[in-house]
């Protein structure tokens, strides 16, 4: 149309343009009507407005705007198309359709097939035959010339394949075709990349004298390089065939079930062809990643599949020595940690208890456990480790004095001689020994034996027939340095030296790092630990289809032959995918190196005609016209609002709320319409955030925010009620008399609640209360050792007065305390700091007055000087009374006491409260008051 590459889908609609003059007439006819207002001071106003006359018609530009809007709408309805597709073919004779159906065609496969379909249509209408050549398999078993319909059937039944096209073979096939005379015109549908042999192909096409047309796809292609699992993250590179504007890519790592577990994004900068990305998710998550793909890319090259070899191993460390954190260099694990950290993730045992440490590490799912100089293992632990080894674990042990002393251990690859061998000391003839060459059956084979390493001590293996098989490394004299053996599916590895530099300087050498690396690599890599140096054949498990999705393998795929030490390559017979079984598989990827992608250079195809592919050449203008019309509509709305005065700030201010909302809604609607229309064909997909498992259970730290008095729940309701009321009464009393304002009293269950929050536990003893179990008492013991105090109250002062009584409460108390480490006790001496902690007291009555309060015995002072208060360095962890404090403190909601004191004496209750205050203050402040009493003396000494 008019020489422009513009056609209309519905040209008849354009006749509506004749309506424009009518619209113009209508628009001129109806100016906006003014509002009529009564205004008494018009005389004053008139003095102003003589000059201003309001136009009765809308301004010309508004009319023009509206006319343009109408014209745009009509044009949009007519369905204009820019640059409509031209004919694909322009030759005659046989059509040789060369189509790239490798991995890189994934994104544009539909377009390529559509273009091929167009070409076949044209060939069919010209009654031409077709030779179909697919570049991944140019020599496939197919007739040299086909009818277009047959070629279309072949094409429709094939997707592109996750493998590299073979242009070299393609060139040979074309030569064959040319030689057989089936020539005419070549249409080459390229995926946009150079592949091996593309030059030959180009040379043939430009030199054959045939008409050649090239359609080049792959403009927005992106691919992934192989990934590396580094300590700080999983790294990879996004590759583009050609540099362009900066493009963002988002990458998703998925686990074996295809669920996203990791996400990251990367921007390929302007003018660059690649950009490196990094998954910084925690190692456990990274290890779950089974495939990484570029979001939105539909080609197998944008997917990298991972197998076991990419996983970082988690290694647990256990030491026989109690690690001294202040001297890390002396820790036997120091060099191991340093050696392992570049390539694996280290879990330290967080406890010195080997049993717990091993259990903890196994629960953390470590691949290998390293034990440095651990001698005897507990039986349970041995069994546990053997179980773990049978499932494929790896136990690496280092010798040391402890191991040398206990050679009878089940968890050793070889039997050891008692004691260790000392080479090259002052009392020895021998020189320190070096390391011998690594033998071929050793995993260390290929490493350079470190010349500088000197072994001075080692544990010796008992000579046996199979010792050689088990030996991975030897000293120069042939004695084993590293021995290993299978244990179930797992490995037992023993270094015959220890892990620091006392026995040898091996841990200081770089070889040590490599050795550990190779050993750790053995762990749980199920495939590589079968036969190491034979090629194996693996059945296809899942393969990538043409769009980069893992699918079950189609029938007829060949098993993958993996030669030792080679990386398998994706071919037509074995396209990219996973090969093997669920238990162990090898990932085959399209791209096996980070080499940059090379874009196809169409200039090298001399004389070739270029054909546009896809929708790129065929642009619908309608959305843009509609968007423009919507913009104009927006402008028109704003203009009308402005004319009506609704846009002035004053009117916005003065407008009623309803009106304002309505105006805002209208504006928002207009804007929204505009925006929607402005974004034709743009779809936003909301990606669900990756679930990171269930949240960590939170410890309830609430009691830590306020200091609470606490009592032990005995399980006997009456006692617990009195305890609660009593502590409430005491809490009130303390809050009103002292600066300490405790929170509401808390009943704690010593068996389960966290006790660390409470400085003082009130523990009433009832004859029927159950004796806590040992685990519970261990907690109580820990509580007391961490500085908590417990006030035991047998509440039986009065009954214990009976003659010959061994009160049941006392018996119970004795039972409870039996498992505790109780220091010697004494009744509170008169100079004890408890008597002065807040009030000055000489007795500690509760409901009963007669009983003593027992505390830890203070160290007797030798000098017997007249110190007014004595205190040990800490707070007595245990206080025992029989005076039933809680009953004396218990008050009801009207602050009336609940229990009469014995004898009935209000003073005694007051003293009971004061006792409570002193005990609480003592528990909180310790021996502070004992120091305070010296203040006069201190001041005097300071010369004040």
């Amino acid at each position: 149309m008019l020489g422009l590459p513009l056609v209309f889908a519905y040209p008849l609609v354009l006749s509506a343009l004749v309506l424009l003059p009518a619209i113009w007439f209508l628009l001129r006819l109806t100016p906006p009507k003014p509002r009529e207002e009564v205004f008494p001071p018009l005389a004053i106003l008139r003095r102003l407005v003589k000059r201003e006359e309001t136009p009765a018609r809308s301004p010309w530009w508004l009319t023009a705007l509206r006319l343009l809007m109408a014209a745009l709408a009509i044009l949009a309805m007519a369905g204009p198309v820019w640059n409509p597709r031209e004919a694909v073919l322009n030759g005659d004779g046989n059509l040789i359709l060369v189509i790239d159906d490798g991995w890189a065609s994934g994104n544009d496969w539909a377009d390529m097939r559509a273009l091929a379909g167009d070409a076949l249509d044209e060939a069919a209408s010209a009654s031409r035959t077709v030779s179909l050549v697919r570049t991944t398999s140019p020599f496939e078993d197919i007739a040299p010339t086909l009818e277009p319909e047959a070629a279309r059937r072949v094409l429709d039944s094939h997707e592109n394949i996750a493998a590299e096209p073979d242009h070299e073979d393609t060139a040979r096939k074309l030569r064959e075709l040319a030689a057989s005379g089936e020539t005419g015109e070549i249409l080459f549908l390229s995926d946009g990349l150079e592949h091996p042999g593309t030059r030959e192909l180009a040379a043939f096409m430009s030199g054959s004298g045939l008409k050649v047309a090239i359609a080049r796809a792959g403009d927005d292609l992106a691919a992934l390089s192989p990934l590396a699992n580094a300590p700080e993250g999983m790294r990879g590179t996004v590759l583009l065939p050609q540099a362009g504007e900066s493009t963002p890519f988002s990458l998703t790592g998925r686990d074996q079930k295809g669920l996203p577990v990791a996400r990251t994004s990367v921007v390929v900068p302007d003018g660059e062809k690649s950009a490196e990305f990094n998954f910084t998710e925690p190692l456990e998550l990274r290890n779950q990643i089974a495939s990484v793909s570029i979001e939105g890319m539909r080609n197998p090259g944008a997917v990298q599949l991972l197998d076991d070899s990419n996983r970082r191993r988690i290694v647990g460390l256990v030491s026989g020595q109690s690690a001294d954190v202040t001297q890390p260099l002396l820790s036997p694990l120091y060099y191991i940690e340093r050696a392992l950290s570049p390539f694996s993730d280290i879990r330290d045992a967080d406890t010195a208890n080997i049993e717990e440490a091993v259990t903890g590490l196994i629960n953390q799912n470590v691949s290998a456990i390293i034990m440095a100089d651990v001698g005897n293992l507990p039986e349970d632990t041995t069994a546990q480790l053997q179980d773990w080894l049978a499932k494929g674990g790896m136990l690496i042990r280092f010798a040391g004095p402890r191991l040398a002393a206990n050679p009878e251990d089940a968890l050793l690859p070889v039997r050891l001689l008692q004691g260790d061998r000392f080479i090259g000391g002052a009392l020895s003839w021998e020189e320190p020994k070096g390391v011998a060459e690594f033998e071929q059956n050793s995993p260390f084979f290929g490493l350079e034996p470190p010349a500088e390493v000197q072994i001075t001590r080692q544990v010796m293996a008992l000579q046996s027939r199979d010792l050689d098989e088990h030996t991975w490394a030897r000293l120069e004299d042939g004695t084993p340095l590293v021995t290993a053996g299978r244990s179930g599916n797992g490995w037992l590895v023993l270094f015959h030296v220890n892990s620091d530099n006392n026995w040898s300087n091996l841990p200081l050498s770089g070889t040590f790092v490599e050795m550990l690396r190779r050993i750790v690599d053995l762990s749980r890599s199920t495939l590589s630990n079968s036969e190491l140096n034979e090629s194996i054949s693996l059945p296809p498990m899942e393969i990538l289809d043409g769009s980069g999705t893992l699918v079950p393998p189609p029938a007829g795929l060949k098993p993958l032959e993996v030669a030792a030490g080679t990386t398998p390559v994706a071919t037509v017979q074995t396209p990219a995918g996973l090969y093997g079984t669920e238990n162990g598989y090898v990932a085959v990827n399209v791209l096996n190196s980070a080499d940059p992608l090379v874009a196809l250079d169409t200039a090298s195809f001399a004389g070739a005609r270029s054909v546009a592919i896809g929708e790129a050449g065929n642009t619908e203008i309608r959305p843009w016209l509609i968007a423009l019309a919507a913009l104009l509509f927006l402008a028109d709305c704003i203009a009308v609002l402005w004319f009506a005065g609704a846009m002035s700030p004053a009117s916005l201010r003065r407008a009623t709320r309803h009106n304002r909302v309505a105006t805002a809604t209208a504006l928002a609607a207009v804007l929204l319409t505009g925006l929607l229309v402005l974004a034709p064909g743009t779809a936003f997909s909301q990606s669900a955030p990756g679930g990171n498992g269930s949240p960590k259970p939170e410890l309830d730290y609430q009691p830590a925010l306020t200091t609470h008095l606490a009592y032990v729940i005995t399980g006997i309701d009456e006692v617990d009620r009195v305890s609660k009321l009593g502590l409430e009464g005491l809490t009130r009393y303390i809050a009103s008399r002292t600066a300490f304002e405790p929170g509401a009293p808390v009943g704690v269950d010593v068996a389960s609640d966290e006790l660390a929050f409470y400085p003082l536990l009130y523990w009433p003893i009832h004859a029927n209360s159950p004796v806590p179990g040992e685990a519970t008492m261990a907690r109580v013991d820990a509580f007391m050792k961490q500085g908590g105090s417990i006030l035991f109250d047998t509440r039986n002062q009065i009954s214990s007065l009976m003659p010959g009584s061994n009160a049941p409460e006392n018996v119970k108390l004795r039972q409870i305390l039996a498992t505790l480490d109780i220091p010697p006790l004494e009744p509170v001496p008169p100079d004890h700091v408890l008597t002065k902690a807040f009030y000055l007291l000489d007795s500690f009555p509760g409901r009963y007055a007669g009983g003593d309060l027992w505390v830890e015995q203070l160290p007797t002072s030798d000098e017997l000087d007249a110190r007014p208060a004595r205190a040990g360095d800490g707070v007595s962890t245990i206080l025992i009374t029989s005076n039933d404090f809680a009953a004396a403190w218990a008050v009801d909601e009207n602050l009336r006491p609940l229990f009469q004191t014995v004898p009935p004496n209000p003073r005694q209750r007051e003293l009971a409260f004061r006792s409570g205050v002193n005990i609480a203050m003592y528990a909180l402040t310790g021996n502070y008051k004992a120091d305070q009493v010296h203040i006069p003396a201190l001041l005097e000494r300071l010369g004040q």
Binding site: E37, P41, I44
Partner: protein, 309 residues
């Protein structure tokens, strides 16, 4: 008064007059203490009032003793008081007088204007003010009249009398005839004073020359002051029916407000020059505000009065 669906800012209301108005004005008046009309310049009153003026003058009740000044009437000396010490005292009496106050409310169409933000129309508010003043004045024994309708009367229920007289009279649209106003009376003129300033000024000056003290209460609708119009508006004058188009009314706002302020200012200046009081009252404010202002102006020597006293 307010129709629910109003699109315009201002509207013309019906003439508001009736017993409801009276009741409202009475309620307003109940808020005000007894009005004490300052009547300094009324020398020898004609009618004896009922209440003291809280100043010396002619009356019956003792007011104060003060030292005799040479030249005063010897008969005024209170010899009994003077005998008690060495000075000569004069016995002052409290001045008791009643006073004539004329009321007038402009009822021209422009006064019937009420905008959206106003509580009532200007006319309604003006009548309330007038009746409230009448109530106050009659309560304190003054004679109250309505220019052009009712000659002054001294009556406990003067407000009712004025109200009924007003109901039967035609609306007072023009400036009233002031022939019957005698000198030294007070005149309360309540209007929007929007007519041509020259004629108004001349009339007021004439009144002032006749030794009449006046109080101008200018009713202003908030819309007249703030000019909240915007966009294309056609303005219509309710008095003359003149129309005027404004293309974008908001553009006129600042200039108009300056002019309106100048108009008010000129009225205020005139009032000050002739010794009258001038109160501006917005109809979106409470009527009692204007009443208090008026009360202040009448009962005290107004601070704004400069000339003529």
């Amino acid at each position: 008064m307010k129709s629910p669906a109003r699109t315009t800012i201002g509207e013309q209301t019906e003439r508001d007059i009736g017993s409801g108005l009276l009741a409202r004005s009475r309620a307003r008046a109940a808020l005000i203490p007894d009005l004490l009309v300052e009547a300094k310049r009324v020398a020898n009153n004609v009618y004896a009032g009922w209440h003291g003026r809280r100043r010396r003058g002619v009356g019956e009740n003792f007011w104060q003793f003060r030292p005799y000044r040479p030249g005063e009437n010897m008969a005024a000396i209170d010899w009994r008081r003077s005998a008690r010490d060495d000075h000569v005292y004069v016995r002052d009496r409290e001045w008791q007088a009643s006073h004539t106050v004329w009321l007038w409310v402009d009822e021209s169409p422009s006064m019937l204007y009420q905008s959206r933000t106003a509580i009532v129309s200007k006319q309604s508010r003006a009548l309330v003010l007038a009746f409230a003043m009448a109530e106050l004045l009659s309560r304190s024994g003054e004679r109250v009249g309505w220019l052009g309708i009712q000659p002054p009367i001294a009556h406990r229920h003067a407000a009712e009398r004025l109200g009924s007289a007003l109901m039967h009279a035609p609306p007072q649209t023009d400036f009233p005839d002031t022939i019957s106003v005698r000198e030294l009376s007070d005149v309360i003129l309540i209007s929007d004073f929007l007519e041509a300033a020259d004629g108004l000024h001349d009339r007021l000056k004439q009144l002032a020359n006749r030794q009449i003290r006046g109080h101008l209460v200018q009713m202003v609708d908030p819309a007249e002051d703030a000019f909240p119009y915007s966009g294309r508006v056609e303005f219509r004058d309710p008095e003359t029916g003149t129309r005027m188009n404004a293309g974008s009314a908001q553009a006129l706002r600042d200039d108009y407000r300056a002019l309106f302020a100048a108009h008010t200012k000129s009225l205020s200046l005139l009032a000050r020059r002739i010794g009258w009081s001038h109160t501006v009252h917005h109809t979106d404010h409470l009527a009692s505000q204007a009443l208090v202002a008026l009360h202040m102006a009448m009962s005290h020597d107004p601070g704004f009065g400069t000339g003529g006293r």
